[in-house]
């Protein structure tokens, strides 16, 4: 029976091809937008989660409250200090803690100067290991910095592979940083997430260059085995609050576990996605109204067909089903085109995004999303068709037959 209804419905849609296509535009734009936005958002979340997974969930980051998600290297992140680091080290449950300093400095190479991000490595070898693990610093060529190195640097992937400067910087080359010469001893592997433009140097060198003594940009702490990161983070918060004489809720610093960090990034991504999907939903609503309009027209035009079908034995429910399936198909066809369009769109954004921001922007297509989008558009179509289909099914056969 359903197959027969389908045949009747597709016949009618084919006959009115132009109108069918125009009607579908409303649906497929909405579905394309939803598919593109969700797949890109999901891809971005996956990429971020993967990066955090490589860091591990036993890390705590302490920063000045102003640091937040601001661009790295900006001098606003200065409200943690060496004193704080000493306090953090004494908190029970903290296995090891290390301070880092980040600054945006002028880098000169091949007659070009750029302001780029320079980060420090602490003196102590264990602390260095913690930082290297926490930010995923892997050396591809050359060597890692040693604690005693002076005037030596390790450079990010984009310096030696992506022509950040007019020509790629080779191993052993010299860069001028704030006018002072530094030798490249190591080339870092690709990290992504906009961190491939960074330069790493020993903390003494960076302090000499910037004239800072006690200031730190961030403190990384590793939680001792068997301790819960959130409990230790709470202890760190309390210790720092006590030291600074601040009340709860008025801290000028933040303490985040890697889980919390990923959670807050995901929350932001979800909010952004929700807003965009809301906008796309308006397009779907308009598409649905378009289908309703087309179906009403179709009912009017096919009064005679309805009359004939009723004369030869079609019940009201038969007519209702035929029109519901027809409008559902309209929605579904629009949805299928929309899914194809959305997939291409997000692939395109991914390709362009890779050039601009690196691997962070990638599209993930789950079967649930693709099949769900098509099913959803079928439902929109069918729902929009309910009223016209009811109108069609209730037409008295005599009146319908006269509609000629």
């Amino acid at each position: 029976m359903i197959a027969d209804y389908l045949r009747l419905a597709t016949g009618s849609l084919r006959k009115r091809f132009l109108r069918t296509s125009l009607t579908m535009i409303g649906i497929f734009i909405g579905i394309a937008a939803v598919v593109a936005l969700i797949s890109l958002g999901q891809g971005m979340q996956d990429a971020i989660n993967a990066q955090f997974a490589s860091v591990g969930s036993d890390k705590i980051t302490i920063q000045g409250a102003s640091a937040g998600f601001g661009p790295p290297g900006q001098d606003t992140a200065g409200s943690v200090r060496e004193d704080d680091l000493r306090i953090v080290r004494q908190v029970s449950g903290v296995a090891i803690a290390a301070g880092r300093l980040f600054r945006g400095l002028n880098i000169e190479y091949a007659d070009e100067t750029k302001n780029e991000f320079v980060a420090s490595l602490p003196k102590d070898q264990k602390e260095r290991d913690l930082v290297i693990e926490a930010v995923n610093l892997k050396i591809k060529h050359g060597r890692q910095l040693k604690p005693g190195d002076k005037g030596k640097i390790v450079i990010g992937y984009n310096y030696w592979a992506e022509e950040l400067f007019p020509k790629n910087v080779p191993l052993g080359a010299n860069l001028l940083i704030q006018g002072k010469q530094f030798e490249v001893v190591g080339l870092m592997d690709k990290i992504g997430a906009g961190r491939d433009d960074a330069i790493i140097m020993n903390e003494e060198d960076l302090r000499d260059l910037t004239g800072t003594k006690e200031e730190l940009s961030a403190i990384f702490a590793q939680v001792a085995k068997g301790e819960t990161p959130s409990t230790v983070a709470e202890r760190v918060t309390r210790a720092l609050r006590r030291d600074r004489g601040q009340k709860e809720g008025q801290e000028d610093f933040t303490v985040q576990t890697s889980e919390e960090l990923i959670g807050s990034i995901n929350t932001i991504l979800n909010v952004v996605q929700a807003v965009f999907i809301g906008i796309a939903a308006i397009s779907l609503l308009v598409g649905g109204v378009g289908i309703m309009n087309t179906m009403y027209t179709s009912v009017l035009e096919r009064n005679r067909d309805i009359g004939i079908m009723k004369a030869i034995g079609a019940r009201n429910s038969d007519i209702l089903w035929i029109f519901l399936i027809e409008s559902g198909l309209l929605g579904m066809a629009g949805g299928a085109i929309g899914v194809a369009l959305g997939v291409s769109l997000s692939k395109l954004v991914e390709i362009i995004g890779r050039q601009v921001v690196g691997d962070l922007l990638q599209a993930t297509f789950s079967p649930t999303l693709l099949i769900g989008a098509i099913l959803f558009s079928f439902l929109i179509g069918a729902a929009s068709g309910v009223m016209p289909a009811l109108a069609a099914s209730k037409l008295p056969p005599v009146v319908a037959l006269r509609g000629d």
Binding site: M1, A3, L8, K15, I308, A314, R315
Partner: protein, 233 residues
């Protein structure tokens, strides 16, 4: 003989603005099983209204309509649809085929609504279309067929569920005289050799004489009923 269709004091009143128009005014009509009857009358005489009632397409304002002993006057639209689908085959002046369906699909449609399995539907529809010389035209759509061919598809459709009653509304009105004659011969054949009850609605007095009995309709009333014995010419 037992009547297959019976109209008892049937009134049909339409409301046109402020006035009531009595399309049928107390009609009594008895159609025996296996009878070939013509309802004849000029336009405006109420014959379309009468046909709608006989064909269970409409219910009377007053009075009773019996089909095969059942009073259909107060039935719901869906019940009427079921009865029409099983008992009555329609042949219309304008063929009334569904344009988006092929000849074969048009003929299977009444069987679809009766829930007959697809294999059986296809076999029966194919056989009927072949019988009417349309074996080569199964996949043609109505707009690819001539008027005569379309009417033959419509006749095949009317016979699809093998109904006891065939209701033909000006079946030759849109056909040339030769094809029209073929259609009339077919109706007689269905009547004579297959025992079908035929109700022919026409304004044409020559056509009407092909029936066994003619009911003359004028101003919503049957003014005369006469036996003609079937003109075979």
């Amino acid at each position: 003989m037992k009547p297959i269709i019976e109209l008892k004091n049937v009134w049909k009143t339409y409301r046109l603005g402020e006035t009531n128009v009595h399309a049928l005014q107390g009609i009594n009509l008895r159609v025996e099983q296996g009878e070939f009857i013509a309802i004849q009358g000029p336009s405006g005489s109420g014959k379309s209204t009468a046909m709608n009632l006989v064909g269970c397409l409409d219910t009377p304002t007053r009075g009773d309509v019996y089909l095969d002993g059942k009073n259909i006057s107060a039935m719901s639209e869906s019940d009427l649809a079921q009865i029409r689908g099983r008992k009555i085959g329609f042949i219309f002046q304008k063929f009334n085929l569904i344009e988006t369906l092929t000849a074969l699909e048009n003929v299977t449609l009444p069987m679809t609504f009766q829930g007959i399995p697809e294999e059986e539907r296809l076999a029966r529809a194919t056989a009927l279309l072949k019988q009417f010389g349309l074996g080569e035209r199964l996949d043609h759509r109505p707009n690819q067929l001539s008027g005569g061919q379309q009417q033959r598809v419509a006749i095949a459709r009317a016979l699809a569920i093998d109904p006891p009653v065939i209701l033909a509304d000006e079946p030759t009105g849109n056909l040339d005289s030769k094809t029209g004659k073929e259609v009339m011969e077919f109706l007689r054949e269905m009547h004579k050799h297959h025992g079908k009850t035929i109700v022919l609605v026409t304004h044409d007095d020559i056509l009407a004489t092909r029936a066994d009995k003619i009911a003359f309709l004028k101003d919503g009333q049957i003014i005369n009923t006469k036996k003609v014995g079937g003109n075979h010419k």
